[in-house]
């Protein structure tokens, strides 16, 4: 257990030491989105009755930041360790593959939370927010963060060079998060695209997370948490299988 705790501590220390890059930068990016989109669309769009566009936007940006940074943490840590070769320091000690997995994913969730809390705090002066169902906020933060942290472990292990990881991030993670309803309610989309959105697990994470703030969502939070939980469990099983076999880590 000490090995797991140390690996978790090391992973957290790693991102904390470069906090400008890993925490403050994503917070600034999200706040810029908030200022620009909020300013342009505040008086033109009202996604839910009684909820201003800027207030609607904040939970989406918070969750998007949580997800993107959870992915970035595990994936970048693993690929850096693989490319520089210092991954051996984690592979030589008596750390099980389950502990390895848990440490990387929990550290990813913690970075996601650190970034998400940062976005939320900086956004508060710009929007009046309630917290209707905080339990849902926590549930979607943890499952969504763990889902993306796990996806980051897969990407970090699979990618042999930074270019491949960037492709994973830019052609999969980024479009799926941007097209998940961060900036709009899917009810504003044509019926076809509403249907397509239901195949995007990120949509359920954002929608369920937003429900925690407003008590209103496009689909039931129970449906959303079910979809996210199933996706997470499937990915976790795949990742644990990869780690158990030593895929691309142990020759």
């Amino acid at each position: 257990m000490e090995g797991f705790k140390t690996l978790l501590y090391k992973e957290c220390l790693r991102f904390w030491k470069v906090g400008f890059q890993t925490v403050l930068s994503p917070v600034l990016t999200a706040v810029l989105y908030l200022l620009i989109f909020g300013h342009v669309l505040e008086n033109h769009v009202q996604p839910y009755p009684g909820v201003s566009y800027t207030a609607f936007l904040v939970p989406g940006l918070v969750m998007m930041t949580v997800l993107q940074n959870a992915f970035a943490n595990s994936s970048s840590s693993l690929i850096q360790s693989k490319i520089t070769g210092n991954i051996v320091f984690v592979l030589l000690p008596p750390i099980s593959y389950q502990e390895f997995y848990a440490a990387y994913v929990i550290a990813s969730v913690l970075r996601g939370i650190a970034c998400g809390v940062g976005v939320l705090l900086v956004s508060l002066p710009f929007a009046s927010l309630s917290l209707a169902e905080p339990g849902w906020v926590l549930a979607f933060t943890l499952t969504g963060g763990a889902f993306l942290g796990t996806l980051g472990v897969i990407a970090g292990i699979w990618a042999d060079k930074f270019d491949q990881l960037a492709a994973f991030q830019n052609f999969l993670i980024m479009p799926l998060t941007m097209l998940s309803g961060v900036f709009y309610s899917i009810h504003s989309l044509p019926v076809f695209w509403q249907g397509v959105s239901h195949f995007n697990p990120f949509f359920f994470m954002i929608d369920g997370f937003r429900y925690g703030f407003f008590g209103v969502s496009d689909v039931s939070p129970w449906t959303s948490i079910g979809v996210v939980a199933v996706c997470f469990v499937v990915l976790a099983v795949i990742t644990l299988q990869m780690l158990a076999r030593g895929y691309k880590l142990r020759a």
């Binding site: 520089t84 030589l92 142990r250």
Partner: protein, 300 residues
């Protein structure tokens, strides 16, 4: 007594390359053991298999009686590996890195031992320095420190002196010798054959994934190396039997003859004179591991 390392029937193939082709080896506790071989012989694959970094296709490996796969936790606790590549984590200082490494092995509050290792490896002044700021030699010593944080009974050093200057190399060997005297089993791979000769009590030689020689250093030297008489001649000469059988190498006017006892030297020189050889320079050489290595590799 349980052997420090027991390797039985280990094979490992990487696509078309048979890296290990059935290796059997036992290293006794407390030994200073050398693992030699040309590049690509399988030394690093064997070490990786011991450390759990590679999985053998067949065979078993044990560290202090613990199977490296079935009982990997106990096996890894018993093993310290200094990797060949000069790797480091650029996020941390030397001390942070050693504390983290201690934690990976389940050890908290390890600063007393960390201080001792740093002192012996002449790194005390660099404890707070980021790993990136260290010279190549210091990074190499930091790698040694990392392998020792959990006081493993078996220490494997994979070419630890590559790129380390002479003074630091001597300091490193002094420390490793002390660890060996304190009871640690040391397994060393190196391309510096004189290091292996002076440090190792027993040596295994690998070629193409097989052990082609395994004996005490003294026996290997006795069996495969001779004293040499290196001669520079005024002109090339053709030696008749039985002197021709003593030729170790001959290139132009340089002739190297082998002999077992110093009494033989006069006899060899007389034979050379009789054959018309005129000596312009001469040097005697003792049996060394390089002769053993070249001899065994050429035999196989």
């Amino acid at each position: 007594m349980i052997p420090a390392l027991r390797i039985a029937g280990v094979t490992k193939r990487f696509r078309s390359l048979q890296a290990l082709a059935g290796v059997d080896l036992e290293v006794v506790q407390g030994e200073f053991f050398g693992l030699l071989g040309p590049n690509g012989a399988g030394k690093t694959t064997l070490i990786s298999s011991l450390a759990g970094l590679a999985r053998p296709d067949s065979g078993t490996l044990e560290v202090m009686g613990h199977d490296v796969i079935k009982d990997y936790r106990a096996a890894r606790l018993a093993l310290g590996v200094v990797p060949q590549e000069l790797v480091f984590d650029p996020f941390f200082s030397v001390r942070e890195m050693l504390r983290i490494q201690s934690g990976y092995f389940g050890i908290r509050n390890n600063d007393d031992w960390i201080d001792e290792i740093l002192h012996h490896l002449d790194l005390t002044g660099k404890a707070g320095a980021n790993m990136r700021m260290l010279s190549g030699g210091m990074k190499r010593r930091a790698l040694v420190a990392q392998a020792l944080v959990h006081r493993p009974p078996v220490i494997v050093l994979d070419e630890p002196t590559a790129g380390v200057d002479v003074e630091l190399r001597h300091g490193l060997w002094q420390f490793i010798r002390k660890l060996n005297q304190d009871g640690h089993t040391i397994v060393l791979t190196t391309h510096y054959l004189e290091e292996a000769e002076s440090l190792c009590g027993r040596i295994a030689m690998l070629k193409a994934g097989r052990v082609v020689a395994l004996d005490t250093t003294a026996n290997l030297l006795q069996r495969f190396a001779t004293h040499t008489l290196k001669l520079q001649l005024a002109a090339p000469v053709s030696l008749p039997p039985p002197f021709s059988a003593r030729i170790v190498s001959q290139a132009g006017t340089e002739l190297v003859l082998g002999f077992d006892h110093y009494d033989d030297v006069g006899h060899l020189l007389a034979g050379l004179r009789a054959a018309g050889g005129e000596i312009t320079d001469m040097a005697l050489g003792k049996p060394d591991m390089e002769q053993v290595f070249v001899g065994i590799m050429n035999q196989n």
